[in-house]
Subunit: 658 residues, 2 copies
């Protein structure tokens, strides 16, 4: 409160009113309209974190004096109508009225997050032998004038007498309601205890989670969360059976503060920026809790433990820890393993004393989501030489087995998520996800998500299209389109060659959907960064990619990857298809394993601490490998025998059929 | 938020505006004006907790419809002016405007709290050998691309290397600023660690309290608090020297919600009542913190540990634990020993992760203040048979020595604090604190606090006056004034005899100040309850009051007690004056010892758990002893040889001089 600007200061002030919400705020002259909107907690999107690049934080100045430092390519007509880029427009003096257009609501949930079936969860731990949370039905001796032991000591005495549990711990939120709960229940209660809490080489006594005012067993749940940069997935787990009962997913509400981790780190530098990002992370999870509660009838207070896996930036933001040093060389996280936490410290709407396990990270760009993957894939316990990969904005990868683990992260950029590509988009309805290009007619055939009218191309579609254009001969190994090819699908616009995958009108599309040579260049750089990562990991330990016995693909994006087509462009190593395994949302699965299995809680910390982190920006071989990979599929075709064969076949086929 | 009344409900609503603050609130018809004012966090005093007895929650209804259920003896003229008792007046429908008179500010601080001098603190513990908090100057190796260990692990590594401390713990509030602190300090810092934290039979590793961004030792402080029902006292302690550097005291802000613990327990039943009481307890301490900070230049964040002693009700309210079962038979506290806490859980403005030690209680009416007394008096460690007493609204007492401890509490009522006595008042300027009655003329001589014009009589004055009237022969042993005595000082008003100790005009007094027979009756009941407590304790263990080797008087009130005069009325046992020792504010001293000495932290829990609590309402002998004590000084004069002798001397003297 003390740092909110007030009229007492001698600074010239502006009084901003936001319509239609009616929020008003006084700010010093020169405050950006975006900052003012954030102070009012208005939902103004800022995917580029207020750097003036994306132009999405548009608002309309309906009256008053503002200073525009940039109009970010806005049309003059729009400027005359008052439209302004909020992050680049600054308050003048006096009264200002700003209209905030209703935000284009995201109409869909994140598409196609495979929710693991209870039966299919690959976690093996003898849950019932060593449960995290246990319920105890208790008959407590009521107090009397002759026996005035306190309520808590009375509860302890009953636990000792009936179950041989001689000591328990409790925190304030549970003690506050203890007296009333015991009396309402007439001293016959069920208590939930967190049974095993390992700390500094010894177990602490069980911890009181809840007193149910009835003497028969009640629901006892846990929540496993994958806190992704883009989407958030939660599993509701029944602790009495060890089974997933429901799951839900949503977009990460932090998207309003930047699309990727770098933008969010920049956003966190704004006044109250980190605070807002922390709240938005929690709100995203709370929204899922709400949804799960409504469907299952479970109560928030019945959620007794929470496990959350996310990348290192997401973890820092969730915990409210300064993220800026993740982005500044030499890229250092504040902590690898989060401290012991309970739900009320973060604002999670679970049982206020629910333990929150945040999966530990390895480095600034190998986070808890990857530790989760190593755990849930079983890689940490296998003899086989394994490569685990999770491709998104960053390609994170781990090479190793039960004896050693080496990890790194390659910045692929947003291309595989549809970012920085003219008609790229996230995987939502209308996204072209699957393309085939006829190598005689060069006409495309494609499929869109939900069979909706095509709107753009998502990551898997981009990889498909790139591969198809390459093997059909329309694209050379340097990424140039064949302008001589006799097809109207290839054209030049504004000096840049492009391939039209869908013309306006086709299947209801409202505009041409194209892949330009500069898009292609982005995609090639992205795949080169990832492939170079594989090579550096292998080189570092003196093995060959061919020595790798299994390649495990985790992460949300991995689920939609077509291995053959990914090999074709040189994104994945050219290895037999049998070596590749898709594991689904390994981040969520790792959180689930941590939630359920007490032994996994130790494994996950052990695994994170023994994983070596290779910082590629400190590695000279990475740039060499990257440069070599900037071709389709690679400069060195001996590493890509199947692609080599396919190209040879086409050459022959073309020769025959041309 | 969800239980705030809204217009959506079908209940008839009232819209109340409070002037002059301008707060508005919508409440259902039938809500008391006091409850509405509390919801708006307005400062309306309610010493009787809204029971309609004290009439101090007066407000003025300036417009709108209200229902008055009682006017609590208000004059008709006042009612016509709109004055109403807020707790007995209920909102009707529609708009209502209520004027809240500015609260008569308490013009003085609690009077005369003896603040212990650093030199005089009777705590013996080898503080420097086993400090609670220690500072370490560290040079941390800056991170590099080749060594990307997290900030926290880097800090741990440096502590291990430079000081052999291999493991430390940290909580979220400290980690949130860690990255910035280390870099601003250029990796040369001073860290404060809580060194010794005993839990479940083993020590936990040191806990990170603060990272100072400079490489030389900084201030490191602690706060010891006596959280009394009426006043709050705090000592600021320098951990580097183990000395008290300053102290401050204030009224407990909860007084606005009731004068005594029973009223506050009743107040806590109101909507948001407990929440408000919790906040007011914390605000009272925060106000002292502010004052100490301003004077000492210390920063809030430098206060690394806090110890708080209070009675069981105060402890429950401070922690936000339901207090109602303390008042309902069989009088059970929620906990005896508070859970492990840090400052931010309560809202204390110290270092957010400062450990808060709340001194453990023994029973509903023998609290942490008494445990503190047993500790600070040294009683828990002595061979001597000791009686420790703390007289206030309740008389709490402990009998025993290092081998055993027996405690009880006797409800003395508020008489010794000036409550329920016509001209009784708290010990503040203008209170008659010292009286002498000439046994020939029956004229009084008195002294007031600060030599101000007499306003009323405080506890020590009441005891003096009662004793003087008794030994001067104006009062008989049953508490009746001698209406035949030839003095105008004794008169009858409204059928009740009274003694006029100060006439209007004498020394600037604005009104007659009297002691009535019904006041005398209250005082006799109060002293009888306390004396009966002594007898019951002794009887329970088969010793005689004469066997007691020392009588230690603690508590705020004890400091002003005149032992001889207290013996004269039968409040204290008739034992040689040498046996009595005044210890000052033993509650604050016990908190100080707990704060400073790690071994005392264990002793205090040990002492509380081994102290036996005798519930007097379950004890038949108490009523017998009480009845016997309802005379001046007692029915059994053999227990009061010195008083017996004085009375005999007067009889003789009167005979001679009359």
């Amino acid at each position: 409160m003390s740092d909110t600007p007030t009229t007492k200061s001698r600074t010239v002030m502006a009084a901003i009113t936001f319509t239609p919400s009616g929020e008003t705020i006084e700010v010093p002259r020169g405050t950006s309209l975006l900052d003012a909107a954030i102070l009012c907690e208005l939902d103004v999107p800022a995917p580029c974190a207020g750097q003036g690049r994306c132009g999405r934080c548009r608002v309309r100045v309906t009256s008053g004096e503002v200073e525009r430092r940039s109009n970010a390519g806005m049309a003059t007509a729009e400027i005359l109508e008052g439209w302004a880029v909020a992050c680049q427009t600054y308050a003048g003096a006096g009264s200002i009225e700003i209209d905030v257009p209703e935000r284009m609501k995201e109409k869909v949930r994140p598409h196609g997050h495979a929710v693991a079936e209870p039966e299919s969860l690959p976690i093996t731990c003898d849950y019932m032998q060593n449960p995290a949370v246990k319920l105890f039905v208790l008959e407590i001796e009521p107090p009397s004038l002759a026996d005035n032991t306190s309520d808590f000591d009375r509860l302890r005495r009953a636990l000792s007498k009936q179950y041989g549990i001689d000591e328990i711990r409790a925190e304030l939120p549970q003690l506050r309601r203890l007296g009333t709960a015991l009396r309402h229940a007439n001293w016959k209660v069920t208590v939930a205890l967190e049974m095993r809490d390992w700390v500094y080489e010894s177990y602490l006594p069980p911890r009181l989670l809840r007193v149910y005012p009835t003497a028969f067993p009640q629901a006892s749940m846990g929540l496993a969360v994958d806190l992704g940069t883009t989407s958030v997935v939660a599993y509701l787990v029944d602790f009495t059976t060890g089974r997933v009962v429901d799951s839900a997913s949503t977009y990460n509400k932090q998207i309003a503060c930047g699309d990727d981790v770098i933008s969010r780190i920049i956003y966190a530098k704004r006044k109250h920026g980190l605070e807002r990002l922390q709240k938005l992370a929690v709100q995203s999870i709370n929204e899922l809790l709400d949804e799960l509660q409504q469907r299952s009838g479970a109560e928030m207070r019945e959620i007794h433990e929470v496990a959350i896996a996310g990348n290192t930036t997401m973890t820092h933001l969730l915990l409210g820890m300064e993220p800026r040093y993740l982005r500044e060389e030499p890229y250092i996280p504040t902590v690898a393993t989060a401290p012991k936490l309970i739900a009320c410290e973060l604002g999670l709407n679970a049982n206020p004393v629910a333990r929150v396990h945040v999966l530990p990270s390895v480095g600034a760009y190998v986070g808890g989501d990857i530790t989760a993957g190593v755990i849930s894939s079983g890689m940490y316990a296998t003899d086989k030489l394994t490569l685990f990969i999770d491709i998104g904005t960053n390609g994170e990868m781990v090479l190793g087995n039960k004896d050693w683990l080496l990890s790194c992260a390659c910045s692929a950029g947003p291309a595989f998520e549809g970012g920085g590509v003219r008609d790229g988009m996230r995987a939502s309805p209308g996204a072209i996800e699957d393309v085939y290009v006829d190598d005689a007619t060069w006409e495309p055939t494609f499929r869109t998500i939900d069979d909706a009218a095509a709107v753009g191309i998502c990551g898997s579609g981009l990889i498909d299209l790139l591969g198809e254009l390459f093997v059909s001969g329309l694209l050379d190994k340097s990424g140039h389109l064949d302008l001589e090819a006799p097809t109207a699908r290839i054209r030049v616009r504004d000096g840049v060659p492009e391939y039209v995958v869908c013309r306006a009108g086709e299947g209801g599309a409202e505009k041409d959907i194209v892949l330009t040579e500069s898009d292609i260049s982005s995609l090639i750089r992205a795949k080169a960064a990832i492939y170079a990562g594989f090579e550096v990991l292998c080189t570092s330990v003196g093995v060959d990619l061919a020595d790798v016995e299994q390649i495990l693909i985790g992460g949300a994006f991995g689920q939609y990857l077509n291995v053959e087509k990914a090999i074709r462009i040189g994104l994945l190593p050219d290895q037999p298809v049998e070596k590749f395994h898709f594991l689904g949302n390994t981040s969520a699965l790792g959180a689930f394993a941590t939630l359920l299995c007490v032994n996994i809680r130790h494994e996950v910390i052990d695994v994170a601490s023994k994983m070596t982190y290779l910082e590629l920006s400190a590695d000279n071989t990475f740039m060499d490998e990257y440069t070599s990979a900037l071709f389709l599929p690679h400069t060195d075709l001996t590493g890509f025998p199947s692609v080599h064969a396919a190209l040879a076949a086409r050459a022959t086929g073309n020769g025959n059929g041309g």
